[in-house]
């Protein structure tokens, strides 16, 4: 209370400071008069009174905010100094804007993807729960297992299950494909997330399957599709043609529990059977404990550690496994539980991007360091130029501390301005980063690169700009505030050799910039080479002019018969289109999510614990023709491989070699799937290996089944066009709409685009590192140029004398160049050593290139040497062209 009213009185006084001043003046005058009347003479009174101006000043200062006022003065002065040196200010601001902008943009991405905890109650108690049942077996849980874990565990306050899945939302006749998160009914209550509008799911809605068609909307969808209308609660929407009632809207900050995801809708797990074509007993049946599909997230009971939870769950898992013995010998009888930190949710979407992001964050940190060094060296140059000013201020009574504070205020002002410019720049840098779209997954959720600026990011930017300002201003301020008074005041000519110490600091800073730039450049070179190698990988198929697009007729209520008819008709119509060379269907797009299964050849005895996982795809006739994947033995599927005919399969060479080495696979049988859902199929063809999920994969066995025999509602049309795929796209789209205008078409792209986007982490790293490398290089060049130019200007007098005494321009050039070259060389050596140590860290990101790749090192060295020598040459040339007479005359005048 006291402090507040004190501040209020003080502010009022400060506001009326002119009136206050007048009052104090009058008061002191009266005092003096009264004193004069009491003592002998006015002179004696004044003598006894002391200095009235000082008393006034002291009394007045009590009312003010002297610290703030000095700060304000310093800021005004600093601003004037910046305006007076526009060249320096421009270069410094640009360096800072780039450095801080890049950091802000990177941080906003890293923060949202990797650092930030879920906006839920006590996120630190959340854990990711997974059960391992053997090599190559998914760690997700079946519904039956989840229910047992949820109800019988003794370590969690709550256990939730989620599954990512795309849906078709229809509402007011408009269909749209949206991201969904299928969640157990206890999801919102266990997480402690309250709906922004309406409510979450109720306990009674989580009892029986298929009886409570309710959904909670994501905040983004609510805003985008429903304009933030509060009357959306109670509204009916249709998901995959099934009617649901909206009961609530999730809060804006809550983006589900899969890091990097952004669900548009939360669908109760028990309603999942209503929106997918998979048979209910496969999803929810008590028999199916083997095919896991649910991701689990638990809230630990207070005081329970992760280790205790893992032990408790393993005991429970063993009990359940004993009660329901597995028919598959390849599976571990008793699951082993892994309990990991879940405060940031499930990490499956951000797994691939984590390391590239971390590396890029470290790189932009280096860039900011370079910018700091750059500005520090420019400030040092200015400190030299401002020695006279500082000397005068010291001579007239300013304290050194006061000067240091003044100079630091200037550099912090500079970096604050740079940060403001950097924030503007960050927005466009963010735009570039998010343009590297991650591969869009087929039916499941996709990664959303979210890097909007918010208060956390602004706080980060503010913090780094303050640190930057102090970091780059401290050394120059300390140097500047300690001028050698006498020569500085006399404006004496600096003779070479003098102030050696400061020059060394300048050179050190430039060498440091060179060193950091080399490191970034080497990293960029490695990533570019790695990307080239990746692009050169043989995919095993020909992506040129192949167009893909997906539809899901199952979601529009088609049964198997109608679906088969639809696809047959679509294939026929598309085939007839002009400009279409070949067309087929597949469930999986190459280099996409992929779909895993297990397979073994009949008569093949697997080793105990052998990984029998394989890639799996349901395809139409002529698929390998469209993809230009050679059939090495047997045949492709034809129209005749229908449900009435024997079940057939096509396998890749890796599978054939593994199960029947040296023998023909044709006519032999493969068993696909795990008991009790296993199926035996006769191999009718063997195809060449190709890449299925990613370019860098080791090809594993793959099995293809005929679409007519293993029908699915969601299929992707594969069209090889004769000319421009874009033209074919429009034509094929028309055909689909002619058959069913209400079907949403998604995943529209060419296989070339699919290939490019599958490399997005490498492309992101290569593109950003190259940009950052060039940035670092130009910053270092500016720094070197600035310091060299300064040195030359300080040595004008000396150079003039040398030239007057008959030195050749060439000799002068050599002297100046020698210094620049030494600095560049020193920086290069340090940088190469640093790069040698540092690039080992990014080994995991590189493909086909070693972290000490001589090419990358040589290229970076060459580039830097060229640019560095040019930056040193220009001032040297300038020096050699000095007019000796003028140089000498100027320094004497």
């Amino acid at each position: 209370m006291g402090a507040v009213s004190e501040l209020r009185r003080k502010l009022r006084g400060w506001w009326h400071r002119d009136a206050l001043d007048a009052e104090l003046r009058e008061e002191l005058r009266t005092h003096l008069e009264m004193k004069a009347a009491d003592v002998a003479s006015p002179k004696a009174a004044r003598l006894a009174f002391g200095n009235p101006a000082m008393i006034l000043e002291d009394a007045r200062n009590e009312w003010g905010f002297p610290r703030l006022e000095t700060l304000w003065q310093d800021l005004q002065y600093g601003a004037r100094m910046l305006v007076r040196a526009p060249g320096f200010t421009a270069v410094a601001l640009l360096s800072l804007a780039v450095g801080i902008g890049a950091n802000t943009a990177m941080f906003s991405l890293v923060d949202r993807m990797l650092i930030r905890k879920l906006p839920v109650r006590e996120p630190d108690r959340l854990v990711v729960v997974s059960a391992s049942r053997g090599r190559g077996v998914s760690t997700t849980s079946s519904f039956a297992d989840f229910v047992d874990y949820r109800d019988r565990n003794e370590v969690f306050d709550g256990l939730v299950a989620t599954f990512q899945r795309a849906f078709t939302l229809s509402e007011n006749g408009q269909a749209e494909r949206i991201q969904g998160l299928v969640v157990s009914g206890n999801y919102f209550s266990v997480l402690g997330v309250d709906a922004a509008l309406g409510r979450g799911f109720l306990p009674e809605e989580d009892k029986t399957a298929g009886t409570h068609p309710v959904v909670v909307l994501g905040y983004g969808l609510w805003q985008r599709r429903f304009g933030g209308d509060a009357s959306v609660v109670g509204k009916r929407i249709s998901l995959n043609s099934y009617p649901f009632t909206v009961v609530g809207v999730a809060p804006a900050a809550f983006k589900g529990t899969v890091a990097g995801g952004a669900p548009d809708v939360y669908v109760p797990l028990l309603m999942f059977g209503q929106v997918v074509s998979s048979p209910i007993d496969v999803l929810f049946g008590p028999r199916n404990r083997l095919s896991g599909w649910l991701q689990l997230l638990g809230r630990l009971k207070p005081g329970v550690t992760r280790e205790q939870a893992a032990a408790g769950m393993t005991v429970l898992g063993s009990q359940i496994a004993r009660a329901h013995p597995s028919l598959d010998p390849a599976l571990r009888a008793e699951p082993k539980f892994l309990i990991e930190d879940g405060s940031r949710g499930h990490a499956n979407l951000v797994r691939d991007i984590r390391f590239p992001l971390q590396m890029l964050m470290a790189t932009v940190g280096l860039i900011l360091l370079i910018a700091c060094a750059n500005i520090a060296s420019l400030l040092l140059v200015r400190a030299g130029a401002r020695q006279k000013e500082m000397a005068i201020r010291l001579a007239t009574g300013a304290s050194r501390m006061r000067l240091v504070r003044q100079l630091l205020t200037e550099s912090v002002l500079l970096s604050a301005l740079g940060a403001a410019a950097g924030l503007a720049l960050a927005a466009s840098i963010s735009g570039v980063m998010t343009s590297f779209t991650p591969p869009n997954n087929n039916a499941f959720s996709s990664l959303t690169l979210d890097n909007r600026l918010d208060m956390r990011v602004l706080g980060f930017t503010f913090a780094i700009s303050m640190v930057t300002g102090l970091l780059c201003g401290l050394a120059p301020a300390l140097v500047a505030a300690r001028p050698d008074l006498v020569p500085a005041l006399r404006d004496a000519v600096a003779v070479s050799g003098q102030r050696r110490r400061h020059l060394n600091l300048r050179n050190l800073l430039v060498a440091g910039q060179v060193a950091l730039s080399v490191m970034v450049l080497v990293g960029a070179g490695l990533c570019v080479r790695s990307l080239r190698n990746l692009n050169a990988i043989d995919t095993g198929f020909d992506p040129a002019r192949v167009l893909v697009m997906s539809v899901d007729v199952g979601l529009s209520g088609y049964n198997r018969e109608r679906g088969l008819q639809f696809y047959s008709e679509l294939l026929e119509r598309t085939e007839r289109l002009p400009g279409v060379e070949a067309v087929s269907l597949a469930t999986q797009i190459a280099l996409g999510d992929g779909f895993g299964a297990t397979m073994r050849g009949e008569g093949y005895t697997p080793e105990p614990g052998e990984d029998l996982s394989c890639d799996f795809n349901q395809i139409g006739p002529g698929y390998f023709d469209v993809m230009k994947i050679p059939v090495v033995e047997g045949r492709e599927f034809g129209q005749s491989d229908t449900a009435n005919m024997p079940a057939v399969a096509i396998i890749n060479q890796t599978a054939a070699r593994r199960f029947w080495p040296g023998l023909s696979a044709i006519g032999r049988r493969v068993i696909v799937g795990r008991p009790p859902f296993e199926q035996a199929r006769v191999v009718v063809g063997v195809v060449k290996d190709s890449k299925y999920r990613r370019l860098t994969e080791e090809v594993r066995p793959a099995v293809f089944t005929s679409f007519f025999q293993s029908y699915r509602g969601d299929m992707t049309l594969h069209v090889r066009s004769a000319g421009d795929p874009a033209t074919a796209l429009a034509a094929v789209r028309r055909e689909i709409q002619a058959l069913d205008a209400s079907l949403p078409i998604y995943n529209t792209r060419t296989l070339e685009e699919q290939k490019t986007s599958s490399l997005y982490t490498s492309r992101l790293a290569a593109a950003l590192l190259t940009a950052f490398g060039l940035l670092a290089l130009s910053l270092a060049a500016v720094g070197l140029y600035g310091v060299m130019a300064y040195t030359v200007s300080r040595r004008r007098h000396e150079i003039g004398i040398r030239l007057a005494l008959g030195a050749q321009g060439r000799q002068v050039r050599r002297v100046v160049m020698a210094e620049g070259t030494a600095v560049v060389l020193a920086g290069l050596v340090i940088g190469l050593a640093g790069a040698l140590a540092g690039t080992r860290l990014i080994d995991g990101l590189l493909f086909g290139v070693r972290p000490n790749d001589p090419m990358a090192f040589a290229a970076a060295t060459l580039l830097l040497a060229l640019v560095g020598l040019l930056a040193a040459y220009l001032p040297a040339r300038h020096a050699s062209r000095t007019d000796p007479l003028r140089a000498i005359r100027q320094s004497i005048a």
Binding site: E6, H31, M34, D38, N51
Partner: protein
Amino acid sequence: MKTEIPPGTLYMLVLKTLTRLGPMHGYGIALHIQQTTSDVLQVEEGTLYPALQRMLIKGWVGAEWRVTENKRRARYYVLTPAGREQLAAEVAHFERAITAVRQVIEPA
């Protein structure tokens, strides 16, 4: 003989003076302290006026312009209730301190 005002006691002296004299101007306060102590304590103007400003800010005293007996306009300082509390606290503190000091130095 002149003696410096013991550190930290100026507020107390000013506040006490105001309780004795009622509202008073700066010169009157200084004069009173000097006379009451038989010229032992002299209040410098350079100390007094900044201190009075601080006391205004802290709300221990108020100020108003009045006309003196000699028809001069002068700023009179008036004790506030907060000032009275502060005086009591400072006197108590001072006496505790002085008693303690005596205990150290007296039984010589």
